[in-house]
């Protein structure tokens, strides 16, 4: 840079080196800002901006036909967990909201655990194939990604509805004589979300198993660890980063899932995402919807911090 600065104007040669260096640095900083400008614009307009709008809306009064009135109010935030009795104006716990929070948390956890149960062995299976076979299996795992989420969810519905594949098969074999009610239950939602989010668990776990040095597994066997103990003491701790990444990728979208609970859970098994949608739709309470959105975001952040703690603190437990 100093060379270029010197070429600009011959009198620069006479200037002290420190001054030239300082100017070069200023130029560097300016260029750096200029180059990162497009990214900054995208981030502010597409991420930070809307978030700010949501935050501001959560402190306003709902308009009569949707939208907001520019009057400051904390009602939306109070209504996230509390509700005002319509007869005596006392504040009570909003049982409906709390049960929806609880169901969202429960179903997301179940989904995460189910994707682990199905995903980790799948990832292990793929990672231990020959490289050519691995590509084929990975390809098969990612195929559902190319299909619209709604279509995939309806496919799940086709499996579990009363006249669906599973019930028909069970009735045909004579195991049951009446269809099992699976649609519109929590089971249906967990089943659907497990199917939809399974690749998000398989892929990061696969990546970390593929990196696993299998000589360490041999060392485990050599030191009297049975297959099960080798899995628990050597393989799982080493692929844990992948499992944690997979859990985050599954748990967070599950918490805010909207399409799957709507289609498979029917109207009565709402999840967080549906509750938010309701406020912006039929509820016509945009501030409450905004406050709920931010609450969800806080939940997600708490979950993330917890994961980071768990994965970061692990090192100290050994030895």
């Amino acid at each position: 840079m100093t060379v270029i600065a010197a070429q600009d104007s011959p009198q620069n040669i006479a200037r002290p080196a420190a001054e030239i260096a300082a100017e070069a640095e200023r130029r560097d900083i300016r260029n750096r800002w200029l180059l990162s400008l497009p990214a900054i614009i995208v981030i502010t307009t597409c991420a930070a901006g809307p978030l700010l709008i949501v935050l501001v809306y959560s402190f306003l009064t709902p308009g009569d036909y949707g939208n907001v009135k520019w009057i400051f109010s904390l009602d939306a935030w109070v209504n996230v967990v509390l509700q005002r009795d319509i007869f005596d104006d006392t504040l009570q716990w909003a049982d409906a909201h709390l049960s929806i929070f609880w169901r969202s948390f429960k179903l997301s956890s179940m989904t995460t655990i189910l994707t682990m149960i199905f995903g980790i062995p799948t990832a292990y299976f793929i990672a231990t194939r020959t490289p050519k076979r691995r590509d084929l299996w990975l390809f098969l795992i990612t195929i559902p990604f190319w299909t619209n989420l709604l279509v995939r969810t309806i496919a799940v519905m086709e499996m579990i509805r009363n006249e669906g594949v599973i019930n028909n098969l069970l009735m045909w074999t004579g195991i049951i004589d009446r269809p099992i009610q699976m649609m519109f239950t929590d089971f249906a939602i967990a089943f659907g979300m497990t199917y939809v989010y399974l690749p998000l668990m398989v892929l990061p776990v696969y990546a970390s198993i593929e990196k696993l040095d299998f000589r360490l597994v041999e060392a485990g066997y050599d030191l009297y660890a049975s297959r099960w103990r080798c899995l628990r003491r050597v393989i799982l701790p080493l692929v844990k980063p992948g499992i944690i990444a997979g859990s985050i990728l599954v748990f967070i979208p599950s918490l805010g899932a909207y399409v799957t609970p709507r289609v498979l859970g029917g109207g009565k098994n709402l999840m967080f995402g549906n509750l938010i949608e309701l406020q912006f739709g039929q509820g016509r309470n945009w501030p409450l919807g905004s406050a709920l959105s931010i609450t969800l975001m806080i939940f997600v952040m708490i979950a993330l911090i917890y994961y980071v703690r768990v994965s970061g603190g692990e090192r100290k437990h050994h030895g």
Binding site: D213, R215, L216, E218, A219, Y221, Y224, R229, G319
Partner: protein, 388 residues
């Protein structure tokens, strides 16, 4: 000091499979015995015979080395003993018990891996304790053994370090301590020194010998480094192409190689075409190309009288003036000075060369000059006839 340590370790060793433990001590069978072991990898056109009908007996408390170039099957044999692979034919006995069908975790055999394979998610102490934990030893015993092991490999200060935070030589020591902690019947070492630099390697060679003496455990050591094998081993098995060519003490292997490959692989040597004149047990007389007859040692199952190949180590011959004492005569082609000794390259015929290595004395510069005609005297019984 030394004995009390052994006793502590000996107690550790008893538990894994209690039955048969006592009976093995009375008649003291071989530590490891491989009977007609074959291992074939792949099939059809990709078939590779890694081990071809190998039989070997490794004695108790022995430092036994499998020596050979890469791909000779030495690591495969080690992996069969450890249980990572299973033989296609033959069986393997550990102190008299057939272990061919057992998984690695049921064999009282531990391995020091070439890349150490230390668990990166555990500390130094955690690594050493792992085997004992898997054997469900009581905590107090584990702690005591880990401390003993750290003392044994002189790593006490690094107890709580992560394995990524210690040097290669230290990792090597941890790997050794980890494998020794459960006091295995046999310790397998798969080229453990190959990743270390020369100085550390020399240090660890002495260290390994010391550990073997102090623990009294049978060591089976795999290497391609002939010097390592010669300096450390009680016995060496030289391997090539999935077969064991010769088993013997370092001195036997070096002084009396039975086959061309062994003679060639270990040290420098001179090959001489000769004719076997008479043989009595292992002593024979051979006639060299010069017409002179010298005494030679014969291999166990030597060929009948007739054309043979004899080998003479360069340091077992001397350059002399041509005459009666010279077994061979030739033209001195080249003199290479090495400080402690000098190598003389003698041209015997059109193609035959003979190298003589002589220690340098104070004043022997200029005794012989290149181009002159010299004689080669061979030390008595220095000639060894090869089997082929």
């Amino acid at each position: 000091m030394r004995c009390s340590k052994c006793k502590v370790d000996a107690k550790v060793s008893e538990a894994p499979d209690g039955d048969g433990g006592m009976s093995t001590h009375k008649d003291s069978p071989a530590a490891v015995q491989a009977n007609g072991v074959s291992k074939i990898f792949g099939d059809g056109s990709d078939k590779v015979v890694a081990l071809d009908d190998v039989s070997v007996t490794i004695k108790q408390n022995e430092f036994f080395t499998l020596l050979g170039p890469s791909g000779c099957g030495k690591t495969t044999l080690l992996r069969l003993i450890a249980g990572f692979d299973h033989p296609n034919n033959g069986n393997i006995l550990l102190e008299g018990d057939d272990i061919s069908g057992l998984p690695p975790y049921q064999r009282q055999v531990n391995t020091v891996f070439q890349n150490y394979a230390l668990f990166p998610h555990m500390t130094v102490a955690g690594n050493i304790a792992f085997g004992l934990e898997m054997l469900d030893k009581p905590k107090a015993e584990i702690d005591a053994t880990v401390s003993n092991m750290l003392k044994l490999v002189r790593m006490e200060e690094l107890r709580d370090r992560q394995t990524s935070q210690i040097s290669g030589g230290q990792q090597q020591r941890v790997a050794l301590a980890r494998a020794l902690a459960p006091h295995p019947k046999v310790l397998l070492l798969d080229e453990p020194l190959s990743a270390l630099d020369l100085k550390l390697r020399k240090e660890m060679q002495i260290e390994l010998k010391r550990l073997q003496n102090e623990t009294g455990i049978t060591f089976v050591f795999v290497t391609h480094d002939q010097e390592e094998a010669l300096t450390m081993s009680d016995r060496i098995a030289v391997m090539s192409d999935g077969k064991i060519l010769q088993i013997g003490s370092p001195r036997e292997i070096y002084d009396h190689p039975a086959e061309r490959f062994v003679a060639n692989f270990i040290g420098e040597t001179n090959f001489l075409a000769a004719e076997l004149m008479s043989a009595k047990n292992k002593a024979g007389k051979i006639k060299l190309s010069s017409g002179k007859t010298i005494a030679a040692t014969l291999p166990d199952d030597h060929a009948a009288n007739g054309k043979v190949t004899a080998v003479v180590r360069p340091e077992h011959a001397r350059i002399v003036k041509p005459g009666v004492s010279a077994a061979l005569e030739g033209r001195l082609d080249n003199i290479v000075y090495f400080g402690t000794d000098t190598h003389y390259h003698v041209k015997l015929g059109a193609e035959d060369n003979f190298i003589v290595r002589m220690q340098n004395a104070r004043d022997d510069a200029g005794k012989f000059s290149t181009g002159s005609k010299v004689g080669i005297a061979i030390d008595s019984n220095a000639a060894q006839v090869l089997r082929d």
